[in-house]
């Protein structure tokens, strides 16, 4: 984990103003000397929310149990600092939370709403798909709700069962007009969340709840943003490209290390933004390595991996030396006691990686998969 998170310099953007439109003022890298603090992921989110509220008086944070700090503590201290008019509890009603957020954003505010678990975002699906995503387009840009950011913890957590484990990102990647962002680490979470909040488009921001406390990283204390729709090569290699996002990158990093022991050089890409996604970075990598493995926790059928796979086949067909493979969640509801079997673990990923040296395995794996 630490090796994945701490080793790479990343491009970061220093905000030019509180508003997203004019933020590309200067870039720096996180390797430069700066005040950093060791933070876990929920604390990094909390820091980003503090900055968002501090830098824009027209910003609001709300959702179920947000007032006392949220069930994952991401909103700790915000109500005390910024007052209950700007940071508040809402009734237990996701469509109300998002619908209210859209109206608030449509009046020129930044509405950062929390859906307590991504598993509970579905009542708000209509509001996200038919209101938020189409608000600008249907009005001919007379109105927009670009100030809306929907935060939701997603993914497995070891004991979450059906309703505290889901990864619903693919549903939202089918909706033109919104952006879908998933960070992999505390540093990324802070920078990407600030970008999402300040982006002039509505953003669905899924937070890997497994990492809320587990992932600890040096996080710059200042206000910084990481650009959306830019993937990052977080590990360079020549034999195979691995693409993922969020908590799954930790698993994939382990698979890369295992493969390295077998002499296989893996390139690992964090997609970060799923919609609109950075095809070019993935394409360039696959053209170099000739192989692609996509991995996500969500069920394989209809998952976002399918979209990446199809796109790369269209663009890199003649460069591919093996079928594109997906190591993903299975097509079952998220199964409590069977979670270790369901998960797209490093063993499953390593199986594919090691096929680079013995191609027959690829075929076997794909068929079984």
């Amino acid at each position: 984990m630490a090796s994945l998170l701490g080793r790479f310099c990343r491009k970061m953007v220093v905000p030019g103003s509180a508003h997203g439109g004019a933020r590309l003022v200067s870039t720096t890298t996180s390797c430069e000397s700066e005040t950093v603090k060791s933070l876990n992921l929920y604390s990094a989110i909390n820091q980003a929310l503090h900055i968002a509220l501090e830098t824009d008086p027209r910003s609001y944070v709300f959702g179920e149990d947000v007032g006392f700090g949220g069930v994952f503590r991401c909103t700790t201290g915000l109500a005390e600092r910024f007052g209950k008019n700007r940071v508040f509890n809402t009734p237990l009603c996701e469509q109300g939370i998002v619908g209210f957020g859209i109206g608030l954003a449509a009046m020129g505010n930044r509405a950062v709403v929390e859906i307590q678990f991504a598993d509970y975002i579905y009542p708000a699906f209509d509001q996200i798909v038919n209101e938020a995503a189409k608000f600008r387009y249907r009005s001919g840009n007379q109105f927009n709700c670009g100030g809306l950011t929907i935060r939701a913890p997603y993914g497995a957590v070891g004991h979450g069962g059906h309703y505290h484990s889901q990864s619903p990102e693919a549903f939202f990647c089918h909706v033109p007009g919104i952006k879908v962002v998933i960070p992999r680490s505390p540093r990324e979470a802070k920078g990407l969340l600030l970008s999402s909040i300040r982006d002039p488009n509505p953003v669905v921001f899924f937070e890997p709840k497994w990492l809320y406390r587990q992932a600890v990283e040096e996080v710059p204390e200042h206000d910084y943003m990481i650009p959306l729709s830019e993937a990052e090569v977080i590990r360079e290699g020549n034999d195979i490209t691995l693409v993922g996002w969020g908590a799954q990158l930790t698993v994939m990093e382990q698979a890369c290390l295992d493969a390295e022991k077998e002499g296989i050089s893996c390139e690992l890409i964090d997609l970060k933004t799923l919609l609109p996604w950075d095809k070019e970075t993935v394409e360039a990598s696959v053209k170099k390595t000739g192989r692609l493995l996509i991995s996500h926790e969500a069920p394989v059928t209809g998952g976002f991996g399918a979209e990446i796979s199809a796109t790369i086949l269209e663009r890199c067909f003649l460069k591919l030396e093996a079928p594109v493979s997906r190591v993903c969640g299975l097509d079952t509801p998220f199964p409590l006691v069977f979670e270790p079997f369901y998960m797209p673990t490093k063993n499953k990923a390593s199986f594919f990686c090691s096929s680079v040296s013995s191609p027959s395995k690829t075929h076997t794996f794909s068929c079984r998969h």
């Binding site: 809402t90 009734p91 109300g96 859209i102 109206g103 249907r138 002039p200 095809k279």
Partner: protein, 462 residues
């Protein structure tokens, strides 16, 4: 109750009940309801309700429990010794506020907000204009010149009188049967026509079906066809107005059908909790496409739902422009001054079909439609009142009608021959800036058009 008692038939429980006189207030009650051959020495029931009853009994004093109250979130709750369910409805339906009778005569002692001659004449003129606009657009659709249309026939008073009672700074989150609000605020017939024909002057850039109007300038958020989704949006906007200390409220419209949607309930609850200055105006016109209100809800309409959420509510005769004006005016005052939501149920009738895709005589009688159109016509009622003030005449009426007809025909002529929006507007405004995938897709579409130009509409500029 018999069931409950049977399950709580431990001797000690019953003794407690009698001793504290808790559940039954009088011996008469007890003798009427209690089973006489109760088993003795039975074990304490595992029934959780029974246990709860026991606990409550134990914790109460020996005083007359009728006078006791319980501290509970939201305020003190008094106890009652009677098993009394709140009835599903009041014996009498909630009365409907009106100022004018069916013939347009002012009711004696009616309360209403005074309307000046200027406002009254504009209200009536705009109601007539709306009706003529609907007629001509409807006919244009029948002739195949428009793809779709939905009229507001029968609901002209709700449209215009509510708009007249609001401030132009109040932000509107409409459904699709309130174009009169836009008309009142100055949207021109040409602007309506441009939207319906989806030409390049349409603010929506030709992307939505006819009647999906919107105007930033006039604080009228663009219509979406989804039902009731605009209600929670209105609450969020209202909260923003409150936070900014504006002398304005948000106003949202919806129908009887819309009150069944989850978003209606979400919005009312949020508005009450957030103390948002928002008016919920329900046009209860009796029909959601073909579904009558008897298949929509079992409550006394929509007005009673406000109270469950802690919202002041009023039922108004939606075909009485003066009543509509007064109710909305008063509601707005309360909303803005006291930071609270108000629910208005306007009783009306959808005299037109749901839309041009609907023939409503398949599910309701032509006589019913005609009766509402004649006996409760909102225009003729208001005209009678305006005329009784000597503010209107037959001459003014015929001048207005011929002028509006002429303007409408001209607006349609111009809108029809104005070219469509450029193809690039298919790709703009999805995001603030088109991302790579949209730029690629635009190139591909243009390439395809180039090789098969005959297969694409020639009136869309490339």
């Amino acid at each position: 109750m018999a069931h409950l008692l049977k399950s709580s038939s431990s001797k000690s429980t019953l003794l407690n009940i009698f001793r504290h006189n808790l559940i039954f207030g009088s011996p008469n009650h007890a003798s009427r309801h209690l089973p006489h051959n109760l088993p003795h020495n039975t074990r304490i029931s595992p029934n959780p309700i029974t246990r709860l009853c026991n606990t409550m009994v134990d914790t109460l004093s020996h005083e007359d429990t009728n006078r006791q109250v319980m501290d509970f979130p939201g305020g003190k709750v008094s106890f009652t010794p009677e098993i009394q369910f709140i009835p599903e409805s009041n014996e009498d339906r909630v009365p409907c506020y009106r100022v004018l009778d069916d013939n347009g005569q002012q009711l004696t002692n009616s309360q209403f907000v005074p309307v000046s001659e200027e406002i009254a004449v504009k209200m009536y003129s705009d109601m007539v204009t709306l009706q003529i606009m609907d007629n001509i657009f409807y006919e244009a659709q029948r002739q195949g010149r428009l793809s779709f249309y939905a009229t507001a026939f029968g609901e002209e008073a709700i449209n215009i009188a509510s708009a007249a009672a609001l401030s132009p700074h109040d932000v509107i989150f409409p459904q699709y049967r309130e174009p009169g609000v836009l008309l009142w605020r100055g949207f021109t017939l040409q602007e309506f026509a441009n939207q319906c024909f989806g030409n390049k002057a349409d603010y929506g850039k030709g992307r939505q079906m006819p009647v999906h109007y919107g105007s930033n300038k006039l604080n009228y958020f663009t219509v979406s066809a989804t039902i009731a989704t605009q209600l929670p949006n209105a609450v969020g906007a209202a909260y923003s107005l409150k936070m900014d200390g504006k002398d304005a409220c948000a106003v949202t419209f919806f129908g009887d059908g819309g009150s069944s949607e989850g978003d209606f309930h979400a919005a009312l609850n949020f508005a009450a909790v957030m103390e948002a200055p928002v008016l919920f105006i329900c046009r209860n016109n009796g029909w959601a496409i073909s579904t009558p209100t008897s298949d929509q809800f079992r409550s006394d309409g929509v007005v009673v739902k406000g109270r469950a959420y802690g919202i002041r509510s009023i039922r108004v005769d939606g075909n009485d422009a003066l009543a509509m004006y007064s109710a909305v005016h008063e509601a707005r005052e309360m909303a803005v001054r006291e930071h609270r939501p108000i629910l208005i149920e306007a009783l009306t009738y959808r005299v037109g079909h749901h839309s041009t895709s609907d023939d409503s005589t398949r599910y309701r009688s032509a006589d019913e439609i005609e009766w509402w159109n004649k006996a409760r016509n909102p225009l003729s009622r208001f005209r009678t009142w305006v005329e009784s003030n000597s503010w209107w005449s037959d001459e003014a009426e015929s001048d207005l009608r011929s002028r509006i007809k002429k303007e409408m025909l001209e607006a349609i002529r111009v809108a029809e021959k104005t070219e469509k929006p450029n193809l690039n507007h298919m790709f703009s405004d999805v995001y603030d800036v088109p991302p790579l995938n949209l730029r690629e897709q635009e190139l591909l579409v243009r390439k395809t058009i180039k090789s098969h130009p005959q297969d694409y509409p020639s009136d869309v500029p490339l």
